[in-house]
């Protein structure tokens, strides 16, 4: 390792420490070997400015991305969670956008958290919002192409879902809770209420969510897995037999709604 690389490794270790450097006597000698200090700041205080910044920048970024989760946990538990997370998973990507990619799984492991199941759902939904925000664009469904599809071709047609769409099964109404927290509306933590949720980016590139029926959700999942329309409908009916008549009756209306919401972006025949 070169001299500068060795110095950088030492510094990176110091700057990720959770506690202040300038109060740790064991760090002062090490800091003095690295930094000159000046008449206003000691070497350890110079390093401390950067250490503090590491935590401010990364906790700030996570607060921005997981506002709902922070609202559920409250400051004390949120801070402990974030510190534990950053210690377990130091940021690797050049982009702060990716900082929370492992937070949903980390929240799931962090069973000490209050309102644990609710927190897990919120983390998953908030990460879905991050993914959907800058997912790839897709050309809107072309009505002329739709009109030209022969009726018999629909049986084997594959509906292509938007890359900016995520399907989530949650145990709590977290999307509505997130909205209330972000709007600074008064809120209370909701009781359990299972939901099938679609988090998506609409045609105006705004982020939205929509609760759908179990049958519609099963159909969307089957379509997302690449199944053609008829086998997808059959799979959804088999998975949610109670909704089989509804799937059959509302398929056309669902398709129109999903196309209008930019969930379906192409039909491959």
């Amino acid at each position: 390792m070169s001299g500068v690389a060795e110095l950088q490794a030492q510094l990176a270790e110091l700057l990720q420490r959770r506690r202040a450097l300038d109060t740790d006597p064991t760090v002062r000698d090490q800091a003095a070997r690295i930094a000159t200090g000046n008449d206003r700041l000691s070497p350890a205080e110079q390093l401390e400015l950067y250490r503090e910044q590491f935590w401010l920048r990364h906790t700030g970024s996570l607060v921005e991305d997981f506002e709902g989760l922070g609202g559920i946990l409250g400051q004390h538990d949120w801070e402990r969670l974030v510190e534990d997370y950053l210690a377990a998973y130091p940021p690797r990507s050049f982009s702060l956008r990716d900082l929370g990619d492992r937070l949903p799984a980390f929240v799931e492991q962090s069973t000490w958290l209050p309102h644990h199941a609710l927190a897990v759902d919120m983390a998953r939904v908030e990460w879905a919002y991050i993914e959907v925000f800058d997912a790839a664009d897709a050309t809107p469904l072309d009505p002329a192409k739709l009109a030209s599809i022969p009726e018999q071709a629909w049986e084997s047609a594959r509906l292509v879902l938007s890359p900016a769409l995520r399907l989530l099964e949650v145990g709590y109404p977290v999307a509505a809770l997130r909205r209330a927290i972000r709007h600074k509306d008064p809120f209370s933590l909701p009781g359990a209420a299972a939901q099938k949720l679609v988090v998506y980016r609409d045609g105006a590139r705004n982020l939205q969510h929509q609760v759908v029926s179990p049958g519609a959700f099963a159909l969307l999942q089957a379509l997302a897995s690449g199944q053609a329309l008829v086998p997808a409908c059959q799979a959804a009916m088999a998975e949610v037999p109670d909704e089989a008549p509804r799937i059959e009756a509302e398929l056309t209306a669902w398709f129109q709604d999903w196309a209008a919401r930019a969930w379906v972006v192409d039909v491959l025949v």
Partner: protein, 323 residues
Amino acid sequence: MTPRLGLPDLGVGVGLRVPHYRRILDERPSIDFFEVISENFLVAGGKPRYHLSAVRETYRVVQHGVSMSIGGPTPPDAEYLAQLKRLVQETRTPWLSDHFCWCGVPGANLHDLLPLPYTEEVVALVVERAKRVQDTLGVRLALENTSSYLSYTGSTMPEWEFISRIAEEADIGLMFDVNNVYVSAYNHGFDPYELVRNVPHERIVQIHLAGHTNLGRYILDTHSDHVIDPVWDLYRETVELAGSVSTIIEWDDRIPELEVLMAEADKAKVVRDAALARRARRLAGQPVPEIEHHRGPPELAPAALAAQRAWAQGGPREHEEAP
């Protein structure tokens, strides 16, 4: 050598930031050009890419980055450079800038612009990498002097010599941040004019101006306020020495209305024009009156701002708009 390495003078622009998108796209105000943070647009789609494309319909855009880590323990990431190159080809940025810094170590990206030790070893390292990056990206690379808060015991040369050596030996441009000169000079106790006067002026392809937060014992480069008078003085001096160089107003925290940024850009134009007039007189051999620089104790940040401790790393991320 040709001024600005032959690159164009785009005038005085501002950093493109999320809170101003709607006004910019609806009203298309008169702004010379925008600077974008490259990393915010290295994404697949959505609003970031849409806004960039819409802004480019009317305005020239230059790219500024914060993640190259040119002096890090490992060379700049190949995948990052590949993404950057695709964006360069899309935006047609006339140059691409990043910083004289390192950002992390393998396994831990600290997302900061950490200063480099000013040594022969690091000069050689950055020169070799800067050449390679410039070749890879196919666009002129410009590196920026950072604001720094620590000075290394191992440094063997002043900052101006460090950045000058690298710029000359790698044949790259300089993104000259005048506010960073002031911040680092204050934090380390050197004369900012020594730095301004000793860098290779013909290599300055762009200038940054910004506000900062003076906490007394040190200054944080927060980009959260107006440019202060002593920094305007340094800007005037830089333009007198370097000529007409594209200039950007950076404002990344407590971002004000667009009019405030535009007024700051207008002020920069006035200072720039005056400095260019003085430069023309000087080059013509005519007498140029001395200008009294702003002196006196630095203005400390009000108590309300002193709690603001996060410094700028290149501007806020693209993000879902606040409700």
